[in-house]
């Protein structure tokens, strides 16, 4: 009796989580899949017609936005690595006893809504705003220069928005790297750079892996940055989903695009994990 109870306990403890996932993830997903195969409109109602043709149709219509989203997501991710890794490294190894303060500073912008933050960027980057205006009047930029409504603005906006998702997981693994292991590398004739490349970087890969996922997935699906900082030529797939769903009320089309995006991201993630050899990465973690 007692034995059976102990084996069942972990499952019982996980129950609330499973119920949550089932109610708020699995059921809506199935509902959306069902919805994507319907035809009709908001006035006459939607009928299930198993209209699989909607999938090639949305891909043919929106491939440009899909590719752009993935490209922006990739650029934002690379930018986040470039800025976030050194930042995480510095906090973890040189933060001293102020580590908590630095992390709080990093998260501070999160206390303000994302829309507001993005809009303030718009204000900062306006053609004659604080930054560009000053540079232009100082003669450092030509009069016609602009940043807003360009892909650069969108990518930088995305990187800014999701930077903490890169820094935190990298910080978490670097924090746990035993300093004596780094010292051992120096003791065994490794220069600072060699110690980093041979020891610190490989040990931080699980964090980098997590950071890439946490930044790439939401930034590819983001629509706020593109709609606020981008122009008509920089729309991302998130903007299409949003307008199809909320403006045109074309629920089947919006659902279908959502599934296409999800499928692409899932395939991408799995091939990324395969290429990086997650198992090996996780093994390092387990030590």
């Amino acid at each position: 009796m007692a034995r059976e109870r102990t084996t069942a306990t972990p499952y019982l403890l996980a129950m609330p989580g499973w119920i949550w996932l089932a109610a708020f993830f699995v059921v809506p997903i199935i509902g959306m899949l069902w919805m994507s195969l319907m035809t009709g409109n908001i006035v006459t109602g939607f009928q299930p017609t198993f209209n699989f043709g909607v999938y090639p149709q949305v891909i043919a219509t929106y491939w440009e936005q899909i590719l752009r989203s993935l490209a922006y997501g990739l650029c934002a991710t690379l930018l986040c690595i470039a800025i976030g890794y050194p930042l995480a490294f510095w906090i973890a190894f040189h933060g001293g006893r102020n580590k908590a303060t630095y992390l709080l500073l990093l998260l501070l912008p999160f206390f303000v809504s994302q829309i507001l933050r993005t809009i303030s960027w718009k204000f900062l980057l306006a053609d004659n705003g604080v930054i560009l205006g000053t540079l232009k009047s100082a003669g450092l930029l030509p009069d016609g220069a602009h940043v807003l409504s360009t892909s650069t603005a969108v990518v930088f906006g995305l990187a800014y928005t999701f930077l903490p998702f890169m820094v935190l997981p990298i910080y978490a693994v670097l924090e746990r790297v035993d300093h004596r292991i780094v010292e051992a590398a120096h003791d065994l004739y490794a220069s600072r750079i060699q110690a980093f490349v041979r020891v610190v970087l490989p040990l931080s890969l699980p964090g980098l892996f997590a950071g890439v996922l946490l930044v790439f997935v939401p930034s590819s699906a983001d629509y706020v940055n593109a709609s606020v900082l981008g122009g008509t030529h920089n729309t991302m797939i998130g903007n299409i989903i949003q307008s199809q769903y909320l403006v045109n009320n074309a629920y089947p089309v919006a659902s279908a695009i959502t599934f296409v995006l999800m499928a692409i991201l899932l395939v991408g993630i799995f091939s990324y994990a395969k290429a990086l050899g997650t198992e090996q990465v996780m093994e390092v973690q387990a030590k």
Binding site: D178, R180, I181, E183, A184, A185, H186, D187, L188, Y189, A190, S191, Q194, R198, V199, P202, L203, E283, V284, A286, K287
Partner: protein
């Protein structure tokens, strides 16, 4: 300079055949850590010369500055004052990766993402040794530490003792002029620790490299070392061979720290045949060689195993004290007695259990403790 010499230097057969002079010298080395509340004098003043091929131990209680001293030799800390010399050369300010010494960390600090062989090859790769040569030396050293069959394993797949040997191999394979070991056996259980002590000693004899060994285990230091420096509160209290340190502790601290030691206080009465005598009531006496003059207070040490325990009053040529047995602990080959002397000092006595000597006394018995004068040392009290 320091790094280039090792490469071609063959493993020395005799400790003295290599280089001239001391492998390591510390001259007036001190280290103060600056912290929020002020400075901590981790090492106050250390002067040391460690010879080539020597097994040298730094022994002392927790926090006495052993690790700090070692880290200054390795180059992870710079002394606040004083000079560190490796093979005669002043290495102050030289980075750890440019010093010809290797460290074995207490926590082993193995690279968890690399195989055993890659861990061991790390130093040689950094020194750009040819690949064939690396393979040969890694195989050779793994054989030496009896881990030849574990080359492809990850550190996490090894037992504590095996990880310890990988850490040792990883340092030894570079043939440094000295190996620094910071409590390398502290994490192992007693049995494994004793086996590894013998193993370490064997390896050190075979490769002939200078070992600087940090420990707070006096038994370990006594059995393994050629010489020991006993440290306390950032200074060296005594430096000498294990026998010197054990038999003639120079200070009260050393006497107390090295093994169990009995301390008897008394007032010098007069000299008897080259010894000073401390008198107590009822014919009790302690004989010891000391410079102290009549009437002076002295502190006398005697090791538990040097004391004889008996029912009858011993002769006048021996130190002799009377007491009551408080505790008897049978330890197999020996029996330990705790005896309260008439003066009130607690004494520990170890007696070998030879067949006719067992059951020398029971709890509560009144006994005589005696020992030869040359087994006592007077310390400045």
């Amino acid at each position: 300079m320091a790094t280039t010499t090792t490469e071609e230097t063959p493993v020395p057969q005799e400790p003295s055949t290599r280089g001239g002079g001391a492998a390591i010298a510390l001259e007036g080395v001190a280290k103060a850590y600056r912290s929020g509340h002020g400075t901590i004098d981790a090492v106050r003043q250390v002067d040391l010369t460690i010879e080539q091929g020597e097994f040298f131990s730094l022994l002392g209680p927790s926090g006495c500055g052993k690790t700090t001293t070692m880290r200054m030799i390795a180059g992870f800390e710079e002394p606040t004052s004083g000079v560190v010399r490796l093979a005669g050369e002043d290495v102050t300010g030289v980075a750890p990766n440019r010093r010809d010494v290797n460290m074995v960390f207490q926590s082993y600090a193995l690279f968890p993402h690399m195989s055993v062989a890659d861990n061991v090859a790390f130093g040689l790769k950094r020194k750009k040794v040819a690949a064939v040569e690396i393979t040969r030396r890694v195989t050779e050293i793994l054989e030496l530490v009896e881990l030849g069959d574990r080359a492809k394993y990850k550190p996490a797949q090894l037992s504590g003792g095996q990880q310890q040997r990988v850490a040792l191999a990883r340092a030894l394979v570079n043939r440094p002029s000295a190996l620094l070991l910071d409590e390398p056996l502290a994490a192992l259980d007693l049995k494994l620790r004793q086996a590894m002590q013998i193993e370490l000693k064997r390896i050190q004899r075979e490769v002939g490299i200078t070992f600087v060994y940090v420990t707070h285990d006096q038994g370990e230091a006594l059995t393994m070392s050629d010489r020991i420096a006993v440290m306390n509160k950032g200074v060296i209290e005594q430096l000498g061979t294990p026998a010197q340190i054990y038999e003639t502790p120079a200070t009260r601290f050393v006497a107390g720290f090295i093994g169990t030691s009995n301390l008897v206080t008394g007032v010098v009465a007069r000299g008897v045949g080259g010894y000073s005598r401390l008198d107590y009531s009822d014919g009790q006496q302690v004989l010891v060689r000391t410079d102290a003059i009549s009437g002076e207070h002295v502190l006398v040490t005697v090791r538990p195993e040097k004391i004889h325990l008996g029912k009858h009053q011993p002769g006048t040529d021996l130190s002799r004290l009377r007491g009551t047995v408080r505790e008897v602990v049978y330890m197999g080959s020996t029996t330990h007695y705790a005896v309260d002397t008439a003066q009130g000092t607690g004494m520990t006595v170890f007696q070998q259990n030879v067949s006719d000597a067992s059951n020398l006394a029971e709890r509560g018995d009144t006994v005589w403790l005696s020992w030869r004068p040359e087994h006592s040392y007077a310390l400045p009290s």
